[in-house]
Symmetry: C2
Subunit: 292 residues, 2 copies
Amino acid sequence: MLTGKHVVIMGGDARQLEIIRKLSTLDAKISLIGFEQLDDGFIGVTKRKVDELEWDAVDAILLPISGTDGKGEVETIFSNEKIRLTDEQVKKTPKHCILYSGISNHYLDACVNKTKRKLVKLMERDDVAIYNSIPTAEGTVMMAIQHTDFTIHGANVAVLGLGRVGMSVARTFAVLGAKVKVAARDSHHLARITEMGLIPIHTSSLITELKDVDLCINTIPAPIITANVLAEMPTHCFIIDLASKPGGTDFRYAEKRGMKALLAPGLPGIVAPKTAGKILADVLTKLLDEEK
Amino acid sequence: MLTGKHVVIMGGDARQLEIIRKLSTLDAKISLIGFEQLDDGFIGVTKRKVDELEWDAVDAILLPISGTDGKGEVETIFSNEKIRLTDEQVKKTPKHCILYSGISNHYLDACVNKTKRKLVKLMERDDVAIYNSIPTAEGTVMMAIQHTDFTIHGANVAVLGLGRVGMSVARTFAVLGAKVKVAARDSHHLARITEMGLIPIHTSSLITELKDVDLCINTIPAPIITANVLAEMPTHCFIIDLASKPGGTDFRYAEKRGMKALLAPGLPGIVAPKTAGKILADVLTKLLDEEK
């Protein structure tokens, strides 16, 4: 239980609703900023304005997954007002107050540095990334079915990278009946790919290894599907780039060659906001509970 | 090889292109009716008008998957002209001429009865139905991801029927991590469901067994998801009805209860026309080859 904990939730999207629901069930005191248009009634939850909040009694501040923008503004889909996180607000909080966000940027890093508060970047945690790889893989499956005229079953699929997302995506396409090859560099990754019954290829030989693929899914956040690689791939090959912006694909060259290539970050929040919210809610409540 | 065979293809959609490609590769003589707007050039293929065709030299007539309408008209996406199959045309063909279509109707049944020709309904063949269940299952996965805010992974899924489509759908959702129960009536189906590691339920106990499902996929072509069953299901449950029109769901009551329910027949031609065309092309060429 989180009885006595005061959590401020500043902005967000549908995922925040699952977090609010869970924190409310666990008896936390919740102040919502930037949620005027939210109709749902939760127990122990109050909608507040930034300037009427008792910052000195706040134990945790939850920002949106996107954190803040360069000027400290936070996104919210539940309000038309501008919501901003400032050093002044954070300074007023007790020293044990922790900030939680999905990712960080210069503004947020500077804010926690100046105010000497701890910032937890939820999306950088291994557990969150692995749980999130489930909706990411499903979103990738959805895109593959939508954007091609062939079935995943029987298709030649290449997955680039065997990280937290790559492993889930490779496994998912394999169980759907695709012939999956996975590109990696580390020898223990190549061993794991073999153990999974998939075809291991080395990232250094993409030019020769991607000649027969119908679908190519990249998870490596570096320029990997270069013009040289694209030039040897079949033009009907559909590329889904899951790496964070700007992705690992030379999109300009892909378009020039008439190949369909899409950058698809943030799939969990799009295809399964409820599950994505639950993932965050579960990890967040565990972290809040540990901080007691 | 199909050298010397003269096949008339009357109307159709993208799936016909795969059939034309394959028959052309196998050296058949192909006459296309209703394909004026098709630009692709295939070897051995001629575009013809109904009245200029030498019907007495035709070995096979391929109709669209939908067959004809009640007046003998065939659908085509490659022409604006009305194309009609008549008894007179069929009468002119040699006695060994066989008609192929996806399904039949009164008009087509009457036509082959009067002219004493054989009609092969491709969609009623077990092999075609099983091959087609692959794109059907993938289309169902796509719909489930698109229309819900949770992941298939971890969801409670009910599949009604363990026929040719039901088995593929159940297996597909299970490998994606769903908790799958399958409803059937026959004891050997219930045994197979158990063998597959899924939860068997009897179709007679749907009222009690569907109380906790997030996703319900029907493949039984009979009124099975009745108002009584719907009344006990969670309102967030999404229903995908794959049974042929009018499906097995009381859609009126589902809507009244605020439940999302979609009838989704013909998924292979929608989500994977190329694969669906290849399936038909493979079976058709095998049948034509056997008829030699």
